[in-house]
């Protein structure tokens, strides 16, 4: 068996792959957080719960209605995104004139409610979700076996992340969005419906989280807690990257996933904490984050 630094290549590439998978979810979630924060100035604490809702949505569609993975991939983000729109219209909307901290507290409360309800219904144990037929199996790459579903997750996450980046940075719609982030009153004065834009942006960010949840369902078990620890890591990712830049969120997400995977190979004891340690180091050296601008 070949080895690199005394580590079997199979183990090394295996962990790298897991790192890339985790990184995909970090990127998708921190991207959603950044988009929401940009326009709403709210840190969406419900993001983890909405990711979990996405996974449960797919699980319920499959087990109650017999709707498979591919339809869920489209339906779950729509359903959870619609729920997000309702949350924005009914609750978040009332908080824009107040201190930003209230948004954090409200979304934290919503996360507790959603997670509590699902824990009552499904307990703490995870529910299995099968990998779709078309994506089962794995391919021998010579140096490692690559499960096809995992490759799919990485590729799709990259496509969705880059697509979001393209829309926000390169299209007219994105230009409106960026302008509204800078100065909502002025954009409103030019005849653009800013409140509608805010609602849809929140819905889109939430839908991204749900989309990540559906993709995560076959990899991790579908459980009520799947989002709550993840969201704290994603917060650290956001602090490291800074929320100013879309591309920054994507790069930081994937990069930190890979670093975490490598830590599992070389020093497994620290694999839980490595992202937080990096956060501390970044705060010491570049307080505004790697891609952020200090406001």
């Amino acid at each position: 068996m070949t080895e690199i630094f005394g580590i079997p290549t199979q183990a090394l590439f295996g962990q790298l792959l897991i790192g890339l998978i985790n990184g995909s979810f970090y990127a998708l979630l921190s991207l959603g957080l950044a988009v929401i924060f940009g326009l709403l100035n709210i840190i969406n604490f419900t993001h983890g719960a909405q990711y979990m809702l996405g996974a449960f949505c797919a699980y319920l569609l499959l087990n109650k209605l017999g709707v498979g993975y591919w339809w869920s991939l489209a339906a779950a983000p729509l359903i959870v995104g619609a729920l997000g729109v309702a949350i924005e219209r009914l609750m978040l909307k009332q908080l824009y004139k107040l201190d930003h901290l209230y948004g954090l507290l409200l979304t934290f409360g919503l996360a507790l409610i959603i997670q509590g309800v699902f824990r009552n219904e499904y307990g703490s144990s995870g529910q299995p979700y099968p990998i779709p037929q078309e994506l089962t199996g794995s391919r021998n790459l010579g140096f490692m076996f690559l499960p096809i579903y995992r490759a799919w997750v990485i590729v799709v996450s990259l496509v969705v992340c880059l697509g979001t980046w393209f829309v926000i940075e390169k299209t007219k719609l994105g230009a409106y969005l960026r302008a509204a982030t800078e100065n909502p009153q002025l954009v409103q004065a030019f005849g653009i419906n800013v409140p509608l834009m805010i609602t849809l942006t929140y819905g889109f960010g939430v839908a991204l989280a749900a989309f990540a949840g559906v993709m995560a369902a076959p990899i991790y078990q579908v459980s009520p807690q799947m989002g709550s620890d993840l969201i704290i890591v994603v917060f650290a990712v956001v602090v490291i990257g800074g929320m100013g830049s879309i591309m920054g969120s994507i790069l930081t997400g994937f990069g930190l996933g890979v670093i975490e995977g490598l830590t599992k190979v070389f020093y497994p004891e620290a694999s839980n904490t490595v992202i937080f340690i990096i956060m501390v180091l970044v705060l010491l050296v570049r307080p505004a984050g790697l891609f952020g601008a200090q406001k």
């Binding site: 507290l105 507790l112 704290i232 917060f235 705060l283």
Partner: protein, 306 residues
Amino acid sequence: MRHQKIAFVLMVAFFALAPLVLYPVFLMKVMCFALFACAFNLLIGFGGLLSFGHAMFLGTAGYATAHAAKVWGFPTELAILFGTFCSFLLGIVTGALAIRRQGIYFAMITLALAQMLFFFYLQAPFTGGEDGIQAVPRGRLFGLLDLGNIWNMYLTVALVFLGGFLLVFRIIYSPFGHVLQAIRENEPRAISLGYNTTMYKFLAYVISATLAGLAGATKAIVFQLASLTDVHWTMSGEVVLITLLGGMGTVFGPVVGALVIITMENYLAQLGAWVTVVQGAIFVLCVLTFRRGIVGEIANLIRKPL
């Protein structure tokens, strides 16, 4: 001031008479959480800084106290002092880091730091992992007072709580407290007046951390237990909830909030995960309709600060 004196007398009378009808252990829990929330409130209510990781101070002091009392055989008062000191040090380190970012980032950083410590305590050998440190000896206070006696324990906790409460009260109405509130209201203005606002916020953070540590250290002795529950993010959320419901930025709010929330959890304990749902619902209701909190509403009604 007169109203606050009356409220203070009422509060002391409550904690003096309540053990006649309510379980003393329950009341001691309320006092520990009230002190924890008072410490937290100093930071959010008067400094405008939302820490979402305050459990790390409660839990760290708990572990340090339990370890010192059980393994090293420290006398109780030294064990509590040691635990509080550990939280003080942790406050300095995490404060120096978190204070580098403002507002919403501050909340995320404190939450992430607390989560890092949670994983550390989960793996560290001295914490007993999932079991925690159990059967911590209560010992004798100053070698005299046997804390195994529930009334001696109650008196000690009551004195610690009242001492901490009065300290927070004193700080709020000190020149330092006034500058802190000025920073909360308008930081650029405070800077232009020549105040080193970062230093003020840092000091408030360290004081808050130390007092939260005192609460955790006392709690570990009362329940003879230090466990992961006290460092988990749900505990950080709970202290936010207590303060929000009682009234952020009021003196007595955290105490009322602790009484209400701990009572509620006692009665709803058999409902399992519904407790989380109720807590979440209180968060949402408070933020949407009841931002002053219980004491804040009363204070608004009588038009006097409480």
